[in-house]
Amino acid sequence: MSTLPLAVTRRRGQGMRHTLDVRVSPYAYVAPFFLLFCAFGLFPLVYTAWVSLHEWTLLSETQTFIGLDNFATLLADGYFWNATFNTLSIGVLSTVPQLVLAIWLAHLLNRRLRFQTLFRVSLLLPNVTSVVAVVVIFSQLFGRDFGMINWVLSWFGVGSVDWAAGTASSHVALSVMIMWRWTGYNALIFLAAMQAVPRELYEAATLDGAGNFTQLRRITIPMIRPTMIFVVIVSTIGAMQIIAEPMLFGQSSGGGGGIATGGPDRQFQTLALFVYEQGFANSTFDFGYASAASWLMFLAVVIVAGVNFLITRRAKGGLV
């Protein structure tokens, strides 16, 4: 008789622990991600807003609240607008041809092919090459006097181009580097989406006499729209934050200028590089000013990504 209550308490105790285990432990399992994101992702982003309202430098002990003064100074700062222009220009030049090319490559790969794996691996090689390596390699290829690209161009009667010196030419050079690194990656993402499109659609279209290009336009692109929206948004957000390429290109193409100016005439300084210059590369280490620039950049990212979202969603089969 005396064993019964004992068994009951034990079962109740186990039940408690079991409930706790089933109800609460899932939260503990997902907690590391959320804690880390709050500490090192969300908090810095929000705190940037607070810093941007102050006269705040790395070196000074005290910070003075100055309201929106940093933003007012920024809007009158020619270098800020120059960086905004460069960001948009490089962004368009690198992203638009890249995505068109990526869709086309994915379309070419979306068949029964020999050497399928070989093609895919070679497409992704540039993406596993570090950005430092990419820029060092391409700075050499784009070299004014002995670069291979000028050498090839000379066959067609083009004189040696000083790629890093001009605004347009440096934007083209940087866009080529970005495209080289990302086209294959995006092609594989598109390919993944294309493989989910039912084969019968293509078979029916072939029977109806629709050619290759028509099939791409009328079947593939409408069917992979969600992926296209995703890729366009991610590419846009990435393009608005470009920093390593212009920073390294300025260093390794020679021509002077600091690490963060994007060429001696700021001809390829992007917004992110401008933020870095104000915060870390300037002798003033002006955190307040750099934070204000960060927030305006955030605004620009949201606007441009939003516009691109609307365009991609609206675009019918006739996009390409």
């Binding site: 285990d21 997902v30 991600f33 070419l108 090459t129 002995f146 260093q251 990212v301």
Partner: protein, 267 residues
């Protein structure tokens, strides 16, 4: 069909050629770069150039730092992502769907915009100049969580977990004895992807580390930023600092590409 192969071969060539050419330059002497036409075959100077790399920057230390940083990040990401992926894919809890949506949405947050407060935080923690500043913020990320959630909801049979419950396994026991073994193929791909991106990371290490205690990428950028353009030196550093990784990728390329494509299908 022939045109298709021709185009793809051309694209493959343009993907691989810059890498090949960097090896050509890295194995030459600087004077060879002035030749017209440019040299197209490797020369015999590679090891001499690599020795110069080690003389110019603390490259051994950089390699060690990069191995420690990329290694610890990969192991942590594999573990925490599998843990969270298990919860999202197979456990029931209130607010689960909303939390998963938030997780995916955080991938769109342009984290670079918080770089200044993040740096200030590292100063406060006294982590600047140390590997902690690189490792701790990267211990787990949204991509990894989402990736493992996708894989486990597809590949882990719920009956297996129910059987484990019947045998008296706690949730942790299920994770340890059932989920972890089942997650191994996807976790391996995730680990390789994470290792590569941690190894290649440049901007944050540049901001938070000092040039005398660098990672490989920071050391490479120092090499390339000399007053005189020493392309041979820069490309020799590139060859030993990044090409091994490219080679590993070429070896496991099939699995890694499968992983990228599976993780990407549902955007």
């Amino acid at each position: 069909m022939r045109l298709r192969y021709l185009t793809l071969t051309a694209v493959a060539f343009f993907s691989a050629f810059p890498l090949y050419y960097s090896v050509v330059v890295a194995s030459r002497h600087n004077s060879a770069l002035a030749e017209v036409p440019p040299p197209l075959l490797p020369g015999g100077n590679f090891f001499a150039n690599v020795a110069r790399v080690f003389d110019t920057v603390p490259f051994g230390l950089a390699l060690l730092n990069s191995i420690i940083v990329a290694g610890s990040i990969s192991i942590a990401v594999m573990f925490f992502s599998t843990l969270a992926g298990f919860a999202f894919a197979k456990l029931k809890f209130r607010g689960k769907n909303a939390m998963l949506v938030i997780t995916v949405a955080t991938m769109m947050v342009p984290a670079q915009l918080g770089i200044i407060p993040l740096y200030m935080l590292m100063v406060k923690l006294e982590w600047t100049g140390t590997n902690y500043a690189l490792i701790v913020p990267a211990l787990v990320n949204a991509f990894g969580v989402f990736f493992m959630t996708q894989y486990l909801s597809r590949a882990l049979p719920t009956e297996l977990l129910e059987a484990g419950r019947v045998d008296g396994c706690t949730t942790w026991g299920l994770f340890w004895h059932v989920v972890l073994p089942a997650a191994r193929p996807a976790a391996a791909v995730l680990g390789m992807l994470t290792f590569m991106s941690a190894w290649n990371d440049y901007f944050w290490p540049l901001v938070v580390l000092s040039p005398d205690n660098p990672t490989v990428q920071v050391a490479l950028s120092t090499l390339a930023s000399g007053y005189v353009n020493d392309y041979v030196l820069g490309l020799a550093g590139t060859a030993i600092g990044t090409l091994p990784l490219v080679a590993v990728f070429a070896l496991f390329g099939k699995q890694i590409i499968g992983g990228i494509m599976q993780g990407a299908v549902k955007g």
